[in-house]
Subunit: 205 residues, 2 copies
């Protein structure tokens, strides 16, 4: 590609991201993407030969961003608890910025599981995943006994679902006089951290 053509290609990718995330591969319309990018269809096909290629570009970028931000946990100088707190902060920041991305990835992988096999393999390789860190801390008696997989899934659930289910929660709470996005921002994260402390420090097993 050229040098200063940042603009048009970026506009296309941003528009495509928005439309694909909302409607998925089959539901998305190339015309809508072109309109949103402020160009016409032919130019769209000039940059990305077809729908599939454009979708792949969007999906890969989404997946990369997702795994990049959702596996970061601070450095080894911190305690396990601090690192998990940091992890939660990262996950929340990510969902705040890209609330639809998780849903998008899940949906598309669910429709076409091949996507996962093809795209994720290369990403996960060199990532310091959370589970080994926990297992090591457990072995060292730094933290309480637990199943690290179950724990990390619980943790991730408590972070992710408030954003995924936001359209429902918003509707349900509005009727009861609550503002869901307010509750989410102010209270959920604290509750998650409380859960972490509980699980790491409990003495009985």
């Amino acid at each position: 590609m050229g040098l200063k053509d940042q603009s048009t290609e970026a506009k296309i990718l941003n528009a495509a991201k928005e439309v694909f995330m909302k409607f998925g591969l089959y539901g998305a319309r190339m015309q809508d993407i072109a309109d949103l990018a402020g160009i016409n269809k032919a130019l769209l096909h000039y940059y990305f030969r077809n729908k599939e290629k454009l979708f792949n570009a969007v999906f890969e970028s989404a997946l990369e961003k997702y795994f990049q931000q959702v596996t970061v946990m601070g450095d080894t100088s911190m305690s396990v608890e601090e690192r998990l707190f940091k992890y939660v902060d990262n996950v929340f920041d990510f969902f705040e910025e890209y609330p639809q991305m998780t849903m998008f990835i899940i949906k598309e992988v669910s429709i076409n599981p091949e996507l996962f096999k093809q795209k994720v393999s290369k990403l996960k390789e060199n990532k310091p995943f959370v589970v080994p860190m926990l297992q090591q801390a457990i072995d060292n008696k730094e933290i309480a006994e637990m199943d690290p997989i179950v724990f990390i899934v619980n943790l991730h659930s408590m972070c992710a679902y408030p954003f995924l289910g936001a359209p429902l929660f918003r509707g349900m709470m509005k009727n009861n006089g609550y503002d869901w996005d307010q509750v989410k921002k102010e209270k959920i994260k604290d509750a998650v951290k409380e859960f972490i402390s509980f699980k790491l420090n409990r003495k009985d097993v």
Copy 2:
């Protein structure tokens, strides 16, 4: 409608449910629904005049089933903890049977928030929602102090996300030699119940 024509209409609805849940309103193809139901397009339009009407039938039925099963909690003869355990059992059963339904409802409401306003109002009216029960138990000092909304959202997150994110979890765990659906079935529910006990019984606040 007729009397014994259960069959065709039911076949259509089942097929439509499957296709709409997978691809959403815009992504779904009427031809695919007809094929899956084993009939042709014209018959499809004979039963449901158009795509929108068919979608509404599916969506309403999904929403109804969802709220029906996800608000049931056993009777008042049980303790709060028992009722919440029962609630978790119900939620798990529901997700086991209709793993895609939550995602479907969230997605469609997210695309068209009007859907929620229109369809949910009538359903939520006469349902004994979880929050008031908790608030009352807190007031009576039966259970520990807590924010019932945050609690119920945490709880629901821990139940729902393992099913919603299953396509991702499956992929990620398979590489590490775990079987996600096994883990989910055997361990997650127990962890959720443990969480309930922790929150209800803790003395420090």
